[in-house]
């Protein structure tokens, strides 16, 4: 429909007859005196606070204790079979009795049948309590963190940034991104917040320092 293309573009140009011909986009100045981050506290503590505000379950552990923390989360949730991205570090799940299956091999119905999913992340934003997945190392394709009802996400301290601008700068827009701020939720019925509609109803986060 290239006739429509020319038509729409011609209309846009006609509508902008008042814009001087030699004006360039950069000539419209954008003030940039807003903050890169806000002084709201030490980032990791803030991230914990924000995540808990969304009713996510959060743990802080040292690197050596991560396998034990994963194992105890799995036991507490009573999981039997969870999906993991093929490149999830093997030691993360080295102590759990729960069976792990590689996400790449499962179709949607099979994903629907597992008890949960374990992933890493790309970036976490303290001020907003947001975890961003970009399909990179230890994260898998988007479906694996969407279909199972329980998501355990491991965040390394060096992945935590204070504010949204820092996160945007770190992320690669060519990858498909999923920004998660707490579990799935709706407030559509009389504004009562109900956790978990379609995405995982439980989000658990282990921060490794």
């Amino acid at each position: 429909m290239s006739a429509s293309r020319e038509h729409v573009l011609a209309r846009v140009r006609a509508a902008l007859a008042d814009v001087p011909r030699d004006e360039k986009p950069e000539d419209v100045t954008v003030p940039d005196d807003y903050a890169r981050s806000h002084d709201q506290g030490e980032p990791i503590g803030l991230l914990v606070d924000r995540l808990e505000d969304y009713k996510a379950v959060v743990h802080r552990v040292g690197a050596a204790d991560l396998p034990a923390a994963v194992a105890s989360a799995m036991a507490w949730r009573n999981t039997h079979r969870v999906v993991v991205p093929a490149d999830l570090p093997a030691d993360w799940t080295s102590q759990t009795a729960t069976r792990t299956v590689a996400g790449d091999e499962l179709d949607i119905d099979e994903l629907d049948a597992v008890d949960g999913v374990i992933t890493g992340c790309a970036v976490a934003i303290a001020e907003t309590g947001t975890i961003v997945l970009d399909g990179g190392a230890g994260q898998g394709r988007r479906a694996v963190t969407l279909i199972p009802d329980y998501h355990l996400c491991v965040v390394r301290a060096d992945q935590v940034v204070a504010g949204v601008p820092e996160a945007v700068a770190r992320l690669d827009p060519r990858r498909p991104l999923t920004w998660i701020s707490g579990p799935s939720a709706t407030s559509d019925i009389e504004l009562d917040r109900v956790e978990g509609v379609h995405g995982p109803r439980t989000l658990e986060v282990i921060i490794v320092e």
């Binding site: 429909m1 429509s4 846009v12 007859a17 419209v28 005196d33 709201q40 407030s187 019925i189 009389e190």
Partner: protein, 486 residues
Amino acid sequence: MSATFMGMPAFPEAARAATGDAQLRHNLRKATRTIRDKRAAVVEELDDWAGLRAAGAAIKNRTLRHLDTYLERLEEAVTAAGGTVHWAADAAEANAVVTDLVRATGHDEVVKVKSMATQEIELNEALAEAGITAYETDLAELIVQLGDDTPSHILVPAIHRNRSEIREIFRAKMAEWGVPAPDGLTDDPRALAEAARTHLREKFLTTRVAVSGANFAVADTGTMVVLESEGNGRMCLTLPETLISVVGIEKIVPTWADLEVFLQLLPRSSTGERMNPYTSTWTGVTPGDGPQEFHLVLLDNGRTDTLADQVGRQALRCIRCSACLNICPVYERTGGHAYGSVYPGPIGAILTPQLRGTASEIDASLPYASSLCGACYEVCPVAIDIPEVLVHLRERVTEGGGHAAERTAMAAAGWVLEDRRRLTLAQRAAAKARGLVPRRLPGPGAAWTDTRDVPDIPAESFRDQWRRRESGAPGRNERKKRGGRR
């Protein structure tokens, strides 16, 4: 123009009917107040809000003033990333493009992410005519769709329904559309959400084509951005084989980095959250992850007319956060249906008459659906001066309107004058607009004053002057000189 809203009475009549509905007023008041309190609290948290807001407005102005450049850039980037771009001058063209694309997949069902653009063009109806069933997957949209209803709020489309009404809708209608409501369904929101989850899960796991809109489209990278809460968006954007996004040409932002502004402004202004539960971004197609076919339909449908109006153009900055609805004293009483279009509230009052023109009675009455109190401007995250555009549009309506305009104006005037608070607000607005429309009473009286002489409007209403003297605060004009506004 709009089949859904055909036969709508003009705003004053629709508003009168709605304000008489006690249940509706109760639901609305509770909802809008809750959201706006939350919004105020999270906006307060950011001490650079004014800077973010100014940046948001400026980025959008930059985009709009050079929209042709950015449209071409976006097209190029999406194409390079493996997507296909289509252009649609109006609703009919957009519907035809989407219908053809769905047909080409060989499927006759689509799942939909809540999108105002597709509501505006009445895509669901067009698809139905072509034998394609569109399933709305946002909980509120599902309630609206099953209830054979129209949305009444940008963000919470079923804000006018309470829990027992929703239960009845689910019980009566779910079976017709797929998985029925469970036996013994209660009106507990948790149970209702669970019923929706089960009902929709089947659709998500089996439907191969999805239709969405986008909150933002990044020109530089070709990235689409969708903000949502429930995960229905992620389902639609990830599981199907084909994804078709219908996006208004004003949704563009120039660069990826610009999102650092809008991803702060939108969630806080909208749901009053620091961030919405889920945001998805995608750039063309990603092998092995998500839809392998992506189509972007760029929609004009009256936007270029809006762009051509130098005062009205700013309405295209709107990021559909709905903060202006929640703060609006008129919206709070009338609800969204009275506005007779998919865009209700203050933004609807300026956007709809620009997109559709002011030929019909409802569209001509919309610029009067406001008390001009200015609260909508104050909360707008991209600083759209809604009162300014309203006054401007009233002038346009009056010029072309004759009798109908006068009648509309007087009906609106009656409504404003019956309440003392509204009168105060209207007077203030009148004072503010003094320089803009000399010798003509802005607001509901404009049509009337066209044929009569009016005395100068004082810079401040008597009541305001009195209150200021009592409190010792500076007057409006003094404030303005010191740069209080903008």
